[in-house]
């Protein structure tokens, strides 16, 4: 219960309606109290203190809003009082912002996001995910085939500092060492957090590049997976193919999944830009952008998980079969999550 004397203290009683000589001023004085009430409710909402509003006021909010909006329409046609008109315009605008403002805060949104908002958006861009997946597979194949035909390709594909000894014809022991586990987790959490920061940048890049009709996104995906294909060939050549896949799969199923989704989100925006369908390009882009944003927010979370797996689990689990099991398990988890988690029924009208 709000304290009643607070309310009456703030709203000034209107001057005597009969004292006004002009008809439009009498119109205003008769409705002034309603406007002030709406003003108070809106102010409380703006300050983020909806508890200050009494139940009675809250129930009447829609009525007050419509009354005030209709007062504005009437006043525009009958009154020349500029101050009243601008007050009403500002008030209706503020009330409109509140009534059509964001309904849920950051935490409410997060809850809805995990309970189905994310997976729904992912399902909605299935076509782009297929394209993105196909491009990544093609990229890996291209990388593999190029290096298989001519080893020189490896050096043009993979930047020197990244290869770090993992080059064609390298000693098997060197390659094995790079896949090996480390004895303890010291310093790994910092490494994981760093990886996460870095990978998020790449994924957001893939999304943002979607702007140019998605072509830069495709190129980025193609290049990064060609690199993967080239690396894969090097290890397979040394007879370590399965070990490499295991080493990569621990975090790779999650991380490559995130990059695939980020690329798909970028493609979705780019594709909508090129083929907006029957809607205006701006309207189509808005729908696509909102959908893509959900997917992207999810990618960030996948990358956190990938960073943790890469930083901790991969270095602590050395056995190829266990690594494959962890990687496969993560993949299964993501597929089930995206395919089967449904959005809960909307509570909002």
């Amino acid at each position: 219960m709000a304290l009643p004397f607070f309310k009456s203290a703030e709203i000034e009683p209107p001057a005597d309606v009969e004292a006004a000589t002009l008809r439009s001023d009498r119109f205003r004085l008769e409705r002034e109290v309603d406007w002030q009430r709406l003003d108070q409710i809106v102010t409380a909402l703006e300050k983020g203190r909806p508890k200050r509003i009494s139940d009675e006021d809250l129930l009447e909010l829609p009525v007050l809003y419509r009354k005030t909006a209709s007062s504005l329409s009437v006043a525009r046609e009958t009154s020349l009082d500029a101050a009243t008109l601008s007050y009403l315009e500002a008030l209706v605008r503020r009330a409109w912002f509140q009534i059509y403002g964001p309904r849920i805060g950051l935490f409410g949104w997060l809850r809805r996001f995990f309970m189905g908002g994310w997976s729904t958006s992912v399902r909605e861009i299935w076509l782009d995910i297929c394209i993105s997946f196909a491009v990544m597979v093609a990229g890996t194949l291209v990388g593999w085939l190029l290096v298989a035909r001519d080893k020189e390709w490896f050096y043009s594909l993979v930047p020197g500092e990244m290869a770090g000894g993992r080059v064609p014809g390298a000693d098997r022991a060197v390659l094995e060492e790079s896949l090996a586990q480390h004895d303890n987790a010291e310093g790994l959490s910092v490494f994981a957090a760093y990886l996460f920061s870095n990978n998020t940048g790449v994924t957001i890049m893939a999304f943002a590049l979607g702007f140019a009709f998605g072509i830069p996104t495709l190129l980025l995906l193609l290049y990064n997976t060609a690199l993967l294909g080239a690396m894969l060939w090097v290890f397979a050549d040394a007879g370590l193919g399965l070990d490499f896949v295991g080493w990569l799969s621990v975090h790779g199923t999650t991380e490559l999944g995130a990059i695939m989704l980020g690329g798909a989100a970028g493609l979705h925006v780019g594709r909508t830009m090129a083929f907006p369908g029957e809607r205006s390009i701006l309207a189509a882009m808005r729908d696509a952008g909102v959908r893509a944003a959900q997917v992207m927010a999810g990618c960030t979370i996948m990358l956190i998980v990938a960073g943790l797996l890469e930083g901790y689990v991969r270095q602590l689990v050395g056995d190829t079969n266990s690594r494959l099991a962890i990687g496969g398990g993560m993949l299964l988890f993501w597929i089930i999550y995206f395919a089967f988690v449904r959005r809960p029924p909307e509570h909002e009208a």
Partner: protein
């Protein structure tokens, strides 16, 4: 007086838009100016930087001894945890700050709020959380990546650097190439940034004592002026500055050929205002509007 005229309503400027709410009420909105928006961004960045500095100072005060341990043989687990917390905090400062405030009831970051701006949906519908997320994800390409790029001297990296520079410049300069000052994030999210002022309800004008018996104005005298002049007069009366009152009273009496004693200006203007507004409003009720004295 010219300032008063500039404050007048009803003259659509370059940044004024009409938005129709779902109830069918046309609401005037003013698109936030590019200068204000850049200012708001700078303010927000300042707040973030201050926040980060304060955060590090608190860390420094709490764990002053921790850094001495960095040199020892084993990596200190507490120090390690600290690094993780720092990296996550920086991540949150980069993304969480804008999201948290723009998802609040004012749909504006502190910087926007200080400059009287807020985010709104372009189509007059509801501003959804997804829209806010979308516009802030793209902010990364528009603000942070160009910032890091320039700080890191990326523009000196040959052809690739130049391409990246041009590409990023397109994003940064996007707001200058459309009339609504939309940045790429606004375009994708379907939002725009508008001015959001509030106004106080001022006194009703015709509550002053009725002087229609002392000052009688004829049809000819009232039909000289239109709505524009009426609202300028309203402004002058509300501001109540003696010199302005005298000037306006002189101008009106000259026009209608009256003589006015010193000290009667306010009374006269109130009476003239009431009569003129009554005259114009009764015309309005019959569908006749007179914009200004020229029409």
């Amino acid at each position: 007086m010219s300032a008063a005229i500039n404050m007048m309503r009803g003259e659509p400027g370059k940044r004024d838009r009409m938005l129709v709410t779902p109830e069918g009420v046309a609401l005037p909105l003013t698109v936030g100016s590019r200068g204000n928006r850049a200012g708001a961004l700078l303010l927000d960045m300042t707040f973030i930087v201050i926040g980060v500095i304060v955060f590090f100072m608190i860390l420094g005060a709490v764990g002053f001894g921790l850094f001495d341990l960095a040199g020892t043989e084993n990596v200190n687990p507490v120090l390690e945890l600290l690094f993780v917390v720092i990296i996550l905090f920086l991540f949150l400062a980069r993304y969480g700050y804008f999201l948290f405030f723009e998802l609040g009831p004012r749909a504006a970051t502190p910087g926007k709020r200080l400059l009287g701006l807020r985010v709104a949906a372009r189509d007059g519908g509801r501003l959804t959380a997804e829209m806010v997320i979308a516009r802030n994800l793209v902010r990364d390409v528009e603000v942070f990546i160009p910032g890091f790029f320039l700080l890191g001297g990326g523009e000196q990296a040959g052809v690739a650097g130049l391409t990246a520079f041009v590409w990023l410049a397109i994003f940064v300069l996007f707001p200058f190439f459309n009339k609504d000052a939309l940045r790429a994030g606004d375009l994708v999210a379907g939002t725009w940034v508008v001015e959001a002022q509030s106004a106080k309800l001022k006194e009703a004008m015709s509550l002053a004592p009725d002087r229609s018996t002392e000052y009688r104005f004829g049809e000819d005298e009232l039909s000289i002026y239109g709505e524009h002049e009426l609202q300028v007069l309203e402004n002058v009366l509300r501001q109540d500055q003696p010199e302005a009152l005298r000037d306006v009273a002189d101008a009106i009496t000259n026009k209608i050929g009256w003589q006015l004693g010193r000290g009667d200006e306010r009374e006269f203007l109130e009476a003239f205002y009431a009569a003129l507004r009554g005259h114009l409003e009764s015309g309005m009720r019959f569908g006749k509007r007179k914009r200004d004295k020229h029409s």
